[in-house]
């Protein structure tokens, strides 16, 4: 059955055949994993185009931001984990309302860590420690309902009525969950990769972050400390592993599992490799991967160097590792408003005043030197 994903029409078996032919024809780059690490190629240009200071006061401020999202109407939503709640800001940065509060009851959060919009009027908030996803009305801030899931929560994205979760369910051995909010049904998709299932380090969840971007017919999944992305069909059946060449970012050393196991501290573990932090589809159909090279400080601050990679809409070409300039004072948080990247940072000014600042970045791909993505098709078992 033909499947359309990100502009590419393909049949799973046809893709395997095509790759085999290309391999025979010495066109290795098109299908085999790219073994050249740290290539020097021209990246996209990511330029700051605007900066916005979010309104805060002594009594109502963002203590510890852990998430940022932009609503379809352009409002900014920030998760504050210090006093658990979501704060909604107008596009000019003025504070509009607070949504939810700390606690464990309906409409309350223990540890909110992610949010996404189903539509103009509904926002989904992931509560990592409460093991729930809650839905709120964006017009009133009113709590609507919530749903619990078994597993370890990592990230969420939303498409219309669907909430996609990077969620490990070890009993089922799956890495992604889909909550159809209209039918209130849950599907557990995409087999948990062996390196997560087998490794104590990953099972310890120190590096478990999983990101998902989904459309009606395909899912793209990225895992912390793993170079390859997994492309799966809408039922979660793996189609191919995609290896995106490494430019400026650290990348992932080939023996990452061993090195992680030998690491003596979280600081060392986080510093070993790059981590995909977000996947997003641009209006052109291209995919953006936001990679972070994390430096975990002794005060448990996650400082990061950020790199942005574009994937062509057929996922065969990449424009890799455009640096995104951030202050590196505190952990940055990302969101996309259509094709614009937004980065939220808390900055301490020279006057010892903290401000929460959102920078907007335009992504210009005219400077790109496109390189091949390594495809390793997954041959379906009969």
């Amino acid at each position: 059955m033909p499947v359309r994903t990100w502009g590419l029409h393909w049949r799973t078996r046809g893709l395997v055949r095509t790759c085999a032919l290309l391999l025979l024809g010495n066109a290795l780059a098109a299908c085999s994993p790219d073994t050249d690490r740290h290539r020097t190629v021209r990246s996209a240009t990511v330029s700051a185009i605007d900066s916005l200071e979010l309104q805060e006061s002594d009594s109502s401020y963002i203590g510890r931001p852990v998430g940022l999202a932009v609503s379809p109407r352009g409002d900014l939503y920030v998760i504050d984990a210090f006093r658990p709640r979501v704060i909604r800001y107008a596009p000019d940065g003025s504070m509009l309302r607070e949504i939810g509060r700390g606690g464990q009851g309906p409409g309350e959060f223990s540890g909110p860590t992610g949010l996404a919009f189903l539509n103009d009027t509904t926002v989904a908030v992931l509560d990592l420690y409460g093991n729930t996803i809650s839905l709120f009305d964006t017009r009133t801030g009113a709590y609507r309902r919530r749903r619990s899931f078994d597993g370890s929560y990592w990230s969420l994205s939303a498409t219309r009525d669907s909430v996609w979760l990077g969620l490990w369910n070890r009993q089922r051995g799956t890495a992604v969950a889909l909550w159809n909010t209209r039918e209130d049904s849950i599907s557990h998709l995409v087999a948990l990769p062996p390196f997560y299932a087998d490794s104590l380090t990953f099972r310890g969840q120190l590096l478990g972050h999983t990101v998902v971007v989904a459309r009606d017919t395909a899912i793209l999944v990225g895992y912390a400390a793993q170079e390859e992305l997994l492309l799966a069909d809408a039922r979660g059946q793996p189609v191919a592993h995609l290896r995106v060449p490494v430019g400026r970012r650290r990348g992932v050393p080939p023996n990452i599992e061993e090195r992680l196991s030998a690491a003596r501290s979280p600081e060392e573990m986080y510093g070993l490799s790059s981590h995909p932090m977000r996947l997003h589809q641009l209006s052109s159909g291209r995919i953006v991967i936001v990679h972070s090279d994390i430096e975990l400080t002794t005060s448990s601050a996650f400082l990061q160097d950020i790199y942005l990679t574009l994937l062509s809409d057929d996922l065969t070409q990449a424009c890799i590792d455009a640096p995104v300039r951030v202050t590196r004072q505190a952990q940055p948080w990302f969101a996309f408003a259509m094709d614009t990247l937004l980065v939220l940072e808390q900055v301490v000014l020279e006057t010892d005043r903290a401000v929460s600042r959102v920078r907007k970045y335009a992504i210009d791909d005219s400077t790109c030197e496109w390189v091949s993505v390594g495809w390793s098709p997954v041959i379906p078992s009969r």
Binding site: D58, S59, Y61, G63, R64, A81, F82, R83, P84, G102, G103, Q104, S110, G111, L128, Y129, G130, T297, T298, S299, S300, A301, Q329, A330, Q346, V348, D352, R353, A354
Partner: protein, 106 residues
């Protein structure tokens, strides 16, 4: 009555969940809540404190290594003390929650 949090800044300032509850409680009942650090913060920790808008009420002169406890004082006398839970996802202890709720009522 006064509730005092003695907090070691070595214990994950950036992720200690209950710290936010203490700051909220101090905002709503400043005469009943104190936050004291068990040692002077480092430069990096000071930056984090600025971001959290957390100005401590005091700092112990001698480093009480790893010490994080909650105390309740009545008329200057210690009534209760217990270890504080700063693990991720932890909520304010029932002892402190009850005290703060009753302090609000008063």
């Amino acid at each position: 009555m006064v509730a005092v949090l003695l907090f070691d800044p070595r214990l994950c300032l950036t992720c200690a969940q209950t710290l936010g509850d203490w700051v909220s409680a101090r905002q709503s009942t400043p005469e009943h809540v104190r936050i004291v650090l068990s040692r002077s913060p480092t430069v990096e920790e000071e930056r984090i404190l600025v971001r959290l808008r957390l100005v401590p009420d005091g700092v112990l002169a001698n480093d009480a290594y790893g010490m994080s406890r909650e105390f309740l004082f009545r008329d200057g006398r210690l009534e209760v003390q217990r270890a504080s839970d700063f693990t991720a996802g932890a909520r304010l202890s029932p002892m402190v929650r009850t005290f703060i709720d009753s302090a609000r009522i008063r």
